[in-house]
């Protein structure tokens, strides 16, 4: 976890001279304080300024009522079309929906509420979760997301892709590619805010206490580098020996097949995985525990290190939505990989269907043999 945080902080720090602009509601400094907390340089703006909206910047809209005018919608749309990034949080996300800049409708429960989200799929925005439990036994998503500034629970339309689910049909975090840019909307407030336990006396709940600052770190890091790897724990370094929720990998063994986490001589990091089939009808596979949130219509590179005594295959399935109840899935497509006596690094290109941004990958070995795997990554092709 610490290493992951370090990487993410590094990726923000690498863009220290840019370029995070914060436009928030006049009533709160929660976002600004959070950005200071996570060492992310930023510039506060009080009014949208076309000259400040350059494509390599990230515009953060937050607070209950960010000071935006109706006409600012066109400015933001133009900024997005030219490659800018918008991170709209809470009331900022509500503004984006009201300005019809994002393909979702909002539902707004009254009061300040805490949401225990679940992953609609793996995405860099959620890397590092589930983490140390601030809430008993919470191991399935980003916990303790305070919704403090009247942000939306979103019903995503076909152009928006949900990353975090609130339950029911509602998304707590979703992104949409708009022109060359990306808008990432988060309904709750990972930075924290005023929590109203009574009608008139707010209690301050900070993202550092709720353990949701990391979501903010991740969001900014991803918007800076949307081509980054989408698969968590790609090298099996973290919690490999624990349960699937923690390791993010699920191993399925049939007919005396075996698996083992190897802790020496890994081609990358310290750990790699071995799958072994001992009978002709054995089958061993490892799959991402949850679907991966990719991008419809885009091409991705699936990269992996492997060695195997016999041929094996990748199975890749695509889904229209994260919900098991509503999604349509394609039949898993096999991609054969030849045997190799030594470690190889290979790549395959995956084309994501326009209407199916979620995908599942499964490495499978049938019959007698041994397959070793490490450093499985999925990155968008430039």
């Amino acid at each position: 976890m610490r290493s992951l945080l370090a990487i993410l902080f590094f990726s923000i720090a690498a863009y220290a001279d840019t370029n995070v602009l914060v436009l928030d509601g006049p009533e709160t400094n929660f976002m600004r304080d959070a950005l200071k907390r996570i060492d992310c340089p930023f510039k506060s703006i009080v009014k949208l300024d076309a000259s400040a909206l350059q494509p390599n910047r990230i515009l953060i809209l937050s607070g209950k009522e960010p000071s935006l005018d109706v006409g600012d919608g066109k400015l933001i749309e133009s900024y997005l079309q030219s490659g800018g990034s918008v991170l709209a949080i809470g009331g900022g996300a509500k503004w984006m929906l009201n300005a019809k800049l994002f393909d979702a409708s909002g539902y707004y429960p009254t009061g300040t509420t805490i949401h225990q989200s679940t992953f609609d799929g793996y995405h860099p925005v959620t890397f590092g979760y589930p983490m140390q439990k601030p809430y008993k036994n919470w191991v399935v998503g980003v916990p303790m997301l305070l919704r403090a500034t009247d942000g939306p629970l979103m019903r995503s339309g076909p152009r928006a892709v949900s990353i975090l689910s609130a339950g029911g049909p509602f998304s707590l975090a979703a992104y949409q590619r708009i022109g060359k840019g990306i808008a990432l909307l988060i309904g709750p407030d990972p930075q924290g805010g005023d929590e109203y336990l009574t009608l008139d006396k707010p209690t301050v709940s900070l993202g550092s206490d709720l353990k949701t600052d990391l979501l903010l770190v991740n969001a900014i890091a991803w918007l800076r580098d949307p081509g980054c790897n989408l698969i968590p724990n790609s090298g099996f370094e973290d919690a490999a020996d624990t349960n699937d929720d923690k390791s993010h990998w699920e191993i399925t063994l049939r007919n005396n097949a075996k698996s083992q986490w190897q802790h020496s001589e890994a081609p990358e990091g310290k750990v790699y995985l071995t799958l072994e089939g001992t009978k002709a009808n054995s089958s061993a596979s490892v799959s991402s525990y949850r679907p991966i949130v990719a991008e419809g219509g885009a091409q991705f590179t699936l990269s992996f290190r492997h060695k195997a005594t016999s041929a094996w295959k990748w199975e890749v399935a695509h889904f229209t939505s994260a919900s098991e109840e509503t999604r349509k899935a394609t039949k898993p497509q096999p991609l054969s990989v030849a045997a190799s006596a030594t470690w190889q690094k290979s790549e395959v290109t995956l084309t994501i269907p326009n209407d199916s941004p979620y995908l599942a990958i499964n490495a499978r070995l049938d019959g007698i043999g041994t397959l070793s795997l490490d450093e499985i990554t999925l990155k968008k092709k430039p």
Binding site: Y107, Y108, P109, T110, G111, T112, T113, I114, H115, Q116, S117, T118, N137, V139, V140, L146, R147, A166, G167, G168, P169, F170, E195, Y196, L197, T198, L199, D244, D245, E250, T252, R254, S285, S287, Y289, R290, P291, E315, A317, E324, A329, P332, A360, N362, R364
Partner: protein, 770 residues
């Protein structure tokens, strides 16, 4: 928590399931209870699942064997359940709950020593459950007529409480209070005083002093009763104690003036006007129920809030000037007036005041609320006076139907009219409304509303004994290729409608999606005498539930025990879950309660529940459906249809909305939204239970569902300002009443508005009035 099982696992799971069911297909089974239960035990031993699902099933199996007279087998099954419970149950509180129920079962088997020893086997740190265990043991012993064992258990509990030296929790206080009551019932006042001496909490101590005072008053020791009641240091409880003492004195046809004078003095010391008003309202109710109308009026006059005062006066409306009451109503806030008028309409009906009831109804919101008020008034009037007057009220309700524009609500209103007409014996009205309701339900668009309307209309037809109409409606509905949800709801009803073959054909052609739905069909087939069919169908149920389905078939053939005759019915709080915050609120309301073994709905059936309980309370917990079970759910359903009450909070809400079982007592769909927090619930001032509440009440939610109300779901509070998702609601189910709350209104501090939500919902569910 695996919400996304591997995509590549499902095929194999399905194959395992098919293999398991196929392996049983050739095994002949007798339909005799003993053979079914033996087979059930054999299957239970092969179960590989874990946790409360398996443990509670084992408990019920042993209990069913006891009911079937298979004492040795029951003992063996229960001993195995003990082992399972130690190994499987998690979290700890579920283990302790099962342990208490196991001890009760052994006691009912006559194995007193084994029962005692089980209660001694608690884990360290489960002090509350030790006390609950002794309380349940004592009460069960008393019901079995074994006063000595009951007394012994009270002594044991007192020793436990004194020995531990720990500060009693809410649960501990409540249990000692209940044990004190049992002691008073055993005519052991010294024992009750001992229990009271252990309790240090002023509120609970005051409650217990009140109990002792009432016992004295009932025995004719009025002065001593007043002295004891005066020792209650909590002023709210002191007012209640004095009110109860006054009522007991009135029951003896003696003067209660002195007690009432003392009560007024005590009430005057309560600083919060709202708390004082509430205490006086409850005391007024006690006096009114005991026939002390004049004294009740005196006390009510001291209530400051005009809404609360009017509510307090409604039960004695016959002694007051109706015009005066209407004037008082007009002095209330405008938003409360139509709802107060609804309460007054019902109150006038209850006292046989037809003309006044009609007059008050004219101020009720038009449409459904007015139909609701008039139907309720007609039912109440029927109990006290002439049928003709009641029919006139229904006639007015019938006219009001034209004001309801929503098709689903129109259909719902017709079913309520039909049920009221049935109770009045107005066959023509009943038939007309039922036919129209069924017809309207079949024409409804929208899957959810159609499902709700069809199930309500058919249920109403069945309750009115019109099986042919029910069967026709079901057949037509199922012919139109309904959605899975509609089908899962309607198919089991075919059996109630006298069409078991049609139900069998449906499930043979295409199995119901829901496991509970299938088990409902099995149980209803067995109840209908179609035992072989029930067994055949049970074999097709997923293997882990087959054992339970077979036990259900056995249970369906057994004569369920009738509970010991009791003086008054009480609120039954399911042992499973977090009821400790309920009991303090119920005491504030002056409402009698007891902890209900979670297996009791299964074991005693609807008649047992009706004999014991005015209302079932299902609190927050992990889930309830495995504790209640499929047959238990069927019994709860029957209990509610026949006029029972149910209040579910959080996990209890899931049970009431059919989240896991499909039995939808509250007509609403839901979104499961994990999360906690202080929601600002927007109060809808459209229902009597919302009277006197401010526009917004903050209530804490702990993962409760967001409800999507369907026709028949009267929303009391919304989670939003757009009236999309409901937080708190009420409904009628058959002749019964159901209230649910997604957030936790029971967990507020003393008499905040959030408490008033709990109080209003409980009173409404018990009595139909806030």
């Amino acid at each position: 928590m695996n919400n996304h099982p591997s995509l590549f696992m499902r095929t194999s799971v399905w194959l395992v399931f098919l293999a398991a069911t196929g392996a049983l297909a050739d095994t002949p089974l007798s339909t005799q209870p003993s053979a079914l239960l033996t087979e059930s035990l054999s299957l239970a031993k092969k179960r590989t699942d874990h946790g409360d699902v398996r443990t509670t099933a084992a408990l019920r199996l042993g209990a069913t064997m006891r009911l079937a007279g298979m004492k040795d087998a029951a003992k063996q099954a229960l001993e195995e359940c003990i082992a399972l419970n130690e190994k499987d149950s998690d979290p700890d509180y579920e283990r302790e709950e099962v342990r208490i129920e196991l001890a009760r079962e052994f006691l009912l088997l006559g194995m007193v020593e084994r029962a005692r020893s089980i209660l001694k086997e608690s884990k360290e740190g489960h002090y509350d459950y030790d006390l609950i265990g002794q309380e349940v043991f004592a009460r069960t012993a008393l019901e079995m007529g074994d006063a000595a064992e009951a007394e012994s258990a009270i002594h044991t509990a007192l020793e436990l409480a004194q020995r531990s030296g720990r500060k009693l929790t809410k649960t501990g206080n409540a249990m000692l209070c209940s044990l004190g009551r049992l002691a008073l019932g055993l005519k052991k006042p010294e024992l009750a005083r001992q229990a009271e001496s252990v309790v240090k909490d002023e509120i609970w101590k005051s409650v217990m002093l009140g109990d002792q005072a009432v016992a004295l008053a009932e025995q004719g020791h009025a002065e001593e009763a007043m002295r004891v009641a005066a020792r209650a240091n909590d002023q709210h409880m002191a007012v209640l104690a004095q009110g109860r003492v006054a009522a007991a004195i009135l029951e003896r046809k003696e003067s209660a003036d002195a007690v009432v004078a003392a009560l007024r003095q005590t009430a005057a010391k309560i600083k919060s006007a709202e708390a004082r008003d509430f205490a006086l309202q409850v005391a007024t109710g006690k006096l009114a129920a005991a026939g002390g109308s004049a004294l009740a009026v005196q006390i009510a006059a001291e209530i400051q809030n005009p809404v609360t005062r009017l509510l307090a006066l409604c039960p004695i409306v016959e002694t007051l000037s109706f015009d005066g009451l209407m004037s008082a109503l007009i002095a209330c806030p405008a938003e409360d007036q139509p709802v107060l008028a609804e309460v007054l309409t019902s109150a006038c009906g209850a006292k046989g005041l037809m003309a006044q009831s009609l007059s008050a109804a004219a101020t009720v919101h038009q449409g459904w609320p007015r139909v609701r008020a008039l139907c309720d008034a007609a039912r109440r009037l029927m109990k006290t006076k002439s049928r003709d007057d009641a029919v006139k009220l229904l006639g007015a309700a019938n006219v009001e139907l034209s004001q309801i524009t929503d098709a689903g609500w129109h259909c719902h209103a017709r079913t309520q009219l039909a049920l009221a007409a049935h109770q009045l014996g107005d066959e023509a009205m009943e038939e007309q409304q039922l036919k129209e309701a069924c017809s309207e339900a079949l024409r409804l668009d929208g899957v959810e509303d159609r499902r709700t309307a069809l199930s309500q209309a058919v249920e109403a037809a069945l309750l009115c004994g019109r099986k042919e109409l029910a069967a026709r409606t079901l057949t037509e509905a199922l012919r139109s290729n309904p959605s899975t949800a509609v089908r899962d709801t309607l198919v089991p009803m075919l059996i109630d409608a006298g069409q078991p073959d049609a139900a069998l054909a449906e499930v043979t052609n295409s199995p119901l999606k829901d496991d509970f739905g299938r088990r409902f069909v099995v149980y209803r087939l067995a109840k209908a005498g179609r035992l072989s069919d029930a067994v055949d169908l049970a074999k097709k149920i997923p293997s882990r539930f087959q054992s339970e389905a077979l036990a259900d078939i056995a249970l369906a053939q057994l004569k369920l025990p009738k509970p010991a005759v009791r003086g008054t019915r009480v609120v039954g709080l399911s042992l499973h879950g977090g009821w400790s915050s309920w009991v303090g609120q119920l005491e504030h309301m002056g409402v009698a309660w007891e902890v209900m073994p979670f297996s009791l709905p299964y074991l005693e059936g609807a008649d047992g529940l009706a004999a014991r309980y005015t209302m079932l309370g299902y609190p927050g917990a992990g889930d309830h459906h495995y504790q209640v079970s499929a047959a238990g759910e069927e019994h709860v359903r029957d209990y509610l249809r026949e006029g029972g009450g149910m209040f579910g909070i959080c996990a209890g809400q899931l049970l009431a909305t059919g989240h896991q079982t499909g039995h939808q007592y509250m007509p609403s769909d839901f979104y499961y939204m994990r999360g906690q927090g202080a929601h600002q619930v927007q109060v809808a001032h459209q229902h009597p239970a919302g009277l006197g509440l401010p526009p917004v009440v903050i209530i804490n939610r702990m993962n409760g569902d967001f409800m999507l109300p369907r026709p028949g779901c009267d929303v009391l509070g919304w989670y939003d300002k757009q009236n999309i998702c409901a937080a708190v609601s009420t409904s009628r189910y058959g002749f019964g009443r159901v209230a649910v709350s997604s957030p936790h209104p029971e967990s507020g501090r003393e008499l905040e508005h959030v408490d008033r939500v709990f109080i209003a919902l409980t009173f409404w569910t018990m009595e139909g009035a806030p």
